[in-house]
Subunit: 195 residues, 2 copies
DNA sequence: AAGAAAAGCTAAAAAACATTAGCTTTATTA
DNA sequence: TAATAAAGCTAATGTTTTTTAGCTTTTCTT
């Protein structure tokens, strides 16, 4: 991994934890193992690092949630659906890279219009679209009752989104939150899945 | 309004818009109409302003959402429920004080454990408890089907919470978001209200 | 291997803020 | 109304952090 890339990597870690303003150029340099002025051989300044990092994070997030492959095959049963969904959520909550990008976005979403748009697109629209497709597929198989798949996806996904960012803020409640999420998903199935 | 209070007021406005780190003592002073050093006659420093402001905001928020009176009387019909709920949401979205406090909390929730806890308590638990009580009341009247009121409240409230913060980030989509919220609430009624 | 380019370092400058010192004006109150 | 306290101002200081200057070492290229 090149120094240039390691700078972005460490910057993301630090920005996610302490925010952009809460992170010094010196801290980033230290993590990379160089002195602060050397950063300027790779980037024009702190803000330049931020911009490169946003480009990068956007691509990475797209890779993880934007593509077709992440829908996977449409679940065949209720238990299948619950299991796959919980797996995806646990991955989202625990994967270090996704976690960092999410924490970064939540903290810095107001810094620019671009960040605001990314937050909306990823946190709300991206995951929702994915579940709209999944629910659609399951409706076709007769597993869900006929309804508007987008509305159902919203009801499924949005509490989860809130709880995940709560878990980011208060990691001591992680397990409790995971349990709550599973209960929510099962209740969702009770209401909307065909008997 | 005393200078001391006006400082808090302007500080909140600026913190909500540009964040704590993004706001200079000088900017606050300018809005108040004094010079920066004069602030120090009223507060020990910038952080002291922040703390006073948090105390203040917490009280104000409590006043608006924490008390019994804001549940109001339990709605008598589906249309009544939709109307009252939408009114409350529009108030939350548009009332300048509530709006400022919310934007401030969203931005600064990671600054301290206290702020993280406030965010959770207000944004998630507070409103949810209110709707749990309302739905409970409506179940007693036979307006809702029998179910766990807390789970229903979550499903009702959490997409709204997300959409409201989206509207804060991207005010150009406010109307679209309001429409989406109303559709969501009506769908919620379709699913859970007795025929 | 010589020369050039890239990446690093130390030391210093510059910038951006918060805060303090010391004095003046305004408001209170005895 | 005189004394005192509160609130304000300008000028300066302190601090923290980003950025530049100038030099050295390493790495790549021919």
């Amino acid at each position: 991994m090149s120094t240039k890339d390691r700078i972005l990597d460490e910057a993301l870690t630090l920005f996610a934890e302490n925010g952009y303003d809460g992170t010094g150029v010196e801290q980033i340099a230290e993590k990379v193992g160089i002195k602060a002025p050397s950063l300027y051989k790779h980037y024009k300044g702190k803000e330049d690092i931020l911009n490169a990092l946003i480009d990068n994070a956007e691509a990475r997030y797209e890779e993880s949630f934007g593509s077709e492959q992440h829908i996977g095959k449409i679940p065949e049963s209720r238990e299948d659906f619950v299991r796959v969904t919980m797996e995806r959520i646990l991955f989202t909550m625990r994967d270090p890279m996704i976690r960092k990008i999410r924490k970064f976005l939540v903290q810095e979403q107001f810094r620019s219009d671009r960040l605001a748009a990314i937050t909306t697109r990823h946190q709300l629209e991206g995951v929702q679209k994915m579940y709209t497709r999944i629910i659609e597929g399951m409706m076709e198989k007769g597993l869900f009752v006929k309804d508007d798949p987008a509305l159902l996806a919203t009801e499924l996904v949005s509490p989860v989104v809130l709880w995940i960012s709560q878990a980011d803020r208060q990691p001591q409640f992680e397990q409790e939150i995971i349990d709550r999420i599973e209960r929510h998903i099962r209740h969702f199935c009770d209401v909307y899945m065909s008997a």
